[in-house]
């Protein structure tokens, strides 16, 4: 009865009600959107190193090692010697390793020297393996496999020839053009930094550098040619998969205490946690801003309900004369606030999902952020419940006022 009156009353004030709903919906959209992006970006970072138990590199901070080796953010650390890599890779508790050699680039994209183990053992998005969309994996020194973004934005196809440059910049003056690579394969999109990487063999990368050095230093050229068929001299970092997850801590300690040279081993989960601590402050302030926007949206509702009360005192008096109890007048106004809040939340949630569906491919290609369109998480339900509670709480103010009016006015309001 009272609920029906509340709905009809709102329908009668369509324009104001629609504006109020819209402002609440936008604020809910922002709040849920910030939460969703925060959650998905963490998921996406975590997904990038699925299945890797340790990341090992030269002595540096865990965050720096993780960001440079796995996410290609920031500059690569010092190299580690090949024999150090072998020593750890040959440990009995190690199942597999993926060596990574960084430091070169191709037209702004990082070049990664690695081994076929990369295609065999690297996992992303929990347990997915890399898939070649075209061509075959690298085999010889001149082969290169491109990430999906590299191929797409530079319009490369299998068989094309590319030249890599020293350093990570977009423009480099040291081109390794004596040693061009040939595209043998293009990977399917992963939504991880792999998409923006040019993959070559360690031997290929080594060959490039030796040729440069041979041009500068005849002595190195002699040594270089002699070592041409030998193992690579160094790698930047490597990923380790253990036979048993439980051995991660002891393996980490063993690497950190390795005597050949100072090394750092990080557990990806722990290092990511440190990253979240750094980004946490930004996330918190974003969240605070969006929470404030919700407060602004709900204040709009408060203002519109309070303004309407003045002209509705006559209506309240008529309802009282018909036998409405003051409590029913109270519930009528509270019901209107509740309906406005509920409609705002629903509209905001619909807008969020529509936006995610429409914008997911953009997010994936531009930011490398893979956003799952899934049911709201527990945290999101919690936020929605908080907004609903805040809406009801704010609705108590005009409801209480109308209650007081109806008690004081009785049936004799004159205009």
């Amino acid at each position: 009865m009272i609920a029906g009156l509340a709905v009809k009353s709102l329908r009668n004030r369509k324009f104001t009600a629609a504006l109020t709903t819209l402002s609440i919906a936008l604020s809910v959209l922002l709040l849920l959107g910030v939460e969703r992006i925060r959650h998905e970006s963490r998921e996406s970072f975590t997904a990038t190193i699925s299945g890797t138990d340790l990341v090992v590199g030269a002595r540096t901070s865990p965050v720096n090692l993780l960001l440079s080796a796995v996410f290609h953010i920031g500059n690569a650390t010092n190299n580690i010697e090949w024999k150090s890599y072998r020593a750890i890779a040959d440990r009995p508790d190690v199942a597999w390793t993926i060596p990574l050699s960084l430091g070169d680039s191709h037209r702004g994209y990082r070049v990664l020297g690695t081994t076929p183990a990369y295609f065999e053992h690297l996992r992303f998005a929990r347990d997915r393996t890399l898939v070649l969309e075209q061509g075959r994996p690298f085999d010889g020194e001149q082969d290169a496999v491109l990430g999906a973004d590299v191929a797409q934005s530079l319009k490369y196809r299998v068989g094309d020839s590319i030249v890599i440059a020293h350093g990570a910049g977009d423009v480099s003056f040291t081109l390794h053009d004596e040693h061009p690579f040939r595209v043998t394969g293009i990977l399917a999109r992963t939504g991880t930094p792999v998409d923006r990487t040019v993959h070559v063999t360690l031997a290929g990368l080594d060959a490039v550098h030796k040729e440069v050095e041979s041009g500068e230093d005849p002595l190195a050229a002699i040594i270089g040619t002699r070592q041409r068929t030998d193992a690579p001299r160094a790698v930047t970092a490597f990923l380790v998969g253990l036979k048993s997850r439980g051995a991660a801590l002891s393996a980490q300690r063993a690497v950190n205490e390795y005597e050949g040279e100072p090394l750092t081993a990080v557990l990806p989960g722990v290092a990511l946690q440190e990253v979240w601590e750094i980004t946490g402050a930004v996330e918190k302030s974003l969240f605070a801003v969006s929470a404030l926007v919700v407060v602004v949206g709900l204040s709009g509702m408060l203002v519109s309900l309070l303004t309407s009360l003045g002209e509705r005192r006559r209506e309240m008096a008529v309802l009282r004369s018909l036998g409405a109890r003051p409590v029913q007048i109270f519930s009528l106004i509270l019901g209107e606030a509740a309906s406005l809040t509920a409609m705002g939340i629903m509209l905001g949630a619909i807008a969020l999902y529509a936006g995610l569906l429409a914008g997911r491919s953009w997010l994936e290609s531009r930011l490398g952020l893979y956003v799952a369109v899934s049911w709201p998480s527990a945290a999101e339900w919690e936020l929605v419940a908080l907004v609903a509670a805040a809406g009801l709480l704010i609705g108590l103010i005009p409801a209480w006022r109308s209650y007081r009016y109806s008690l004081a006015d009785g049936m004799i309001v004159r205009f």
Binding site: R320, S321, G323, R325, M411, I412
Partner: protein, 245 residues
């Protein structure tokens, strides 16, 4: 007249807005019988509306007793008074009687939403509440199908008052209270409105209390009560009849 049961009995009723403010209602005794048509006459601001609020149980007197339909409403709790009003009293105001966001039909049926008793009585003929509402509106020349679903804001003042009358009469309340219902109508419409009000109340054996400052209407009623003669407040003559909330 001696056999008729009293519908309203007031004895030594005094009312003031606050304990300290001047007394605005001071009535030694007043009795209105069943099916009586009473004209309560007095200038605006004299406290007539306050008296109606007391009869309806929206306000409670400071002292004295008010019996409506044999029950002492001063002794009822707030919720019981609200239910009593919903069950037994139909109201018509001067203007702005109708809920603006409800249709004509919804407005007429509204009292049955607040009172199960009136709902049961309205649908007593086995036809349902809406059918009874349409029947009432037919009596008032307002049952045009297009009109029923229309917003009440589109109606003329005369039409609005007829809808208000139908709403006051639905479910056959024993007491109909009309507070200046004709003051916004012209003379022809005033007479027509009174005719239909009398007719409907007579058919239902309802008691009618009609309040107005317009003495010329008095001749058509069973009894005229000059408000100034029964109400003798000791306080200021121009006592306010409304408290600022």
């Amino acid at each position: 007249m001696s056999v008729a049961a009293p519908v309203i009995e007031l004895s030594n009723v005094r009312f003031s807005w606050t304990a300290a403010s001047p007394v605005v209602i001071d009535i030694e005794s007043l009795r209105i019988d069943e099916a009586e048509r009473v004209f309560l006459r007095g200038p605006s601001g004299s406290g007539k509306s306050t008296l109606l609020s007391l009869l309806a149980g929206v306000m409670v007197p400071r002292t004295g007793g008010i019996r409506v339909l044999g029950q002492d409403i001063g002794r009822m709790g707030g919720a019981a008074r609200d239910r009593f009003r919903a069950d037994h009293i139909g109201f018509i105001f001067q203007m702005f009687n109708l809920i603006p966001y409800l249709s004509v039909l919804e407005n007429v049926c509204l009292p049955c939403g607040f009172s199960a008793t009136r709902g049961a009585r309205a649908s007593g003929g086995g036809t349902g509440i809406e059918a009874e509402a349409i029947r009432l509106l037919e009596h008032l020349d307002m049952a045009d199908a297009a009109l029923l679903r229309r917003s009440v804001n589109a109606l003329s003042v005369g039409q609005q008052q007829r809808v208000a009358a139908a709403r006051a009469l639905i479910g056959r309340p024993e007491l109909v209270i009309a507070d200046e219902p004709t003051s916004s109508l012209d003379e022809d419409r005033r007479a027509a409105f009174l005719d239909l009000l009398f007719r409907e109340c007579e058919q239902r054996h309802a008691t009618l209390i009609f309040v107005s400052h317009d003495a010329s209407l008095g001749s058509r009623f069973d009894r005229v009560i000059p408000f100034g003669e029964i109400n003798r407040p000791s306080g200021a003559v121009n006592a306010p009849d409304r408290r600022k909330p």
